[in-house]
Symmetry: none
Amino acid sequence: MKRGPRVLVVEDEPAIAELIAVNLKHDGFLPVVAEDGAAAQRELNEVLPDVILLDWMLPGESGLMLARRWRADSRTRNVPILMLTARGDEPDKIAGLDAGADDYLTKPFSPREMLARIRAILRRRAPEQARERCEIGDLVLDAGTHRVTFQGQALKVGPTEFKILHFLMAHPERVHSRTQLLDRVWGDHVFIEERTVDVHMRRLRLALGAAAAHLETVRGVGYRMTATPEVTADGGGLAQQTG
Amino acid sequence: MKRGPRVLVVEDEPAIAELIAVNLKHDGFLPVVAEDGAAAQRELNEVLPDVILLDWMLPGESGLMLARRWRADSRTRNVPILMLTARGDEPDKIAGLDAGADDYLTKPFSPREMLARIRAILRRRAPEQARERCEIGDLVLDAGTHRVTFQGQALKVGPTEFKILHFLMAHPERVHSRTQLLDRVWGDHVFIEERTVDVHMRRLRLALGAAAAHLETVRGVGYRMTATPEVTADGGGLAQQTG
DNA sequence: TCCACATGTCACGAAGCCGTAACACAAGCG
DNA sequence: CGCTTGTGTTACGGCTTCGTGACATGTGGA
């Protein structure tokens, strides 16, 4: 009942499309073929794939235009795109990257390389959205319903803050650097100031209210979600030096 | 002023070189740009970088030749090389890896990916600080969660003290001189008074509390972490000397 | 169009950390 | 004992890091 990653293949040449689809199926992917931009758009309206294999040369709208459009649409923005291009046109490649493609594949390519690239993208982009439900103490996050509750009470958490919280709660007790958070929450393809993470942490803490005690700052390292928040009262025999 | 890892950027295209340098600087690296193999060689004769970013296509000697030469030279042999290649030429990549490149990056690439690759290389090459979890008696250090516990009780340890403790616990029973500690904890090219180590040891002992018994001073040599601390009449803790 | 919300960045201040000097204490040696 | 060397301890100025409020921009909906 395990379903493989969905791959939308946008390719007008039937022979190539078939070749790709067969190889994808063979490796456990679920390919859906669209012969042009319009068909691809219809497919995207139905269900979002895990990755898009986009041919550069297409009848009607070009792959470049499509990539640009999908990157502009908030719904499809985060779907990684693997561009298929004819061999050797550097300017094309740069334009494609600008349009938001995650990687390129030069035709002709070996099926093995294609599969490797797709797996690399999936590994990079979606290491694990696996955990749908996370709990830490009385704090509960449900990715399916996109809800956060603390002691049964619903909390209002913004989109970015939700992603951060999701990641932190999926990997509790572990310290995550700002760089790691940027990579995992925002994605590797953006360049954001590390300091911005701090601001979102502040917003997350405000949203969490009392539950913010579970969110700890590790000075000089990063942030951490913990089930056992530090208490001010010192329980052990620590030799505490007073200045 | 904290100094980051040195990166020698061998790239003839000024625009690309500048882009790379800016991004490296932004992330705390110290980039040095060389426009061709000769300039790179001059730079290498001066000071060895922590990693070399080597463009494949260069005026004069190609990146492949340079990589091969540097790999043959005992002085530069161990400097990791990250190769920059034009997209899509598989044979080139293989040849590059044969020549001794540690990894390659396909142009065009995102700054974030470049930084991630560099960090990955440095991490891979980095010494044995790798051990995530260390135990000595009831004292446990976990680098992943950045936590130190003694008999189950969490201890509050500052950043530098944590690094010292991590190193000592990764190499227990062994005496480490102040110089060695400075090299391993602070970095090889930092000018710090050796006496400073003593002060951090003091802070570390305060943070460790009773567990400080495992941290021994070897007079005239350095410090050591031991599983079998010497038993003293006064209980082996922090005997407070009146001052 | 206006409005509400989200987001990324900056400036400023507070808190914590660091390296060093200076002094106190301990250990070795004659 | 007195001297020398090595280490423990404390205080402090300077610096880094973090939290916080404010602001400009972008985005989507009424």
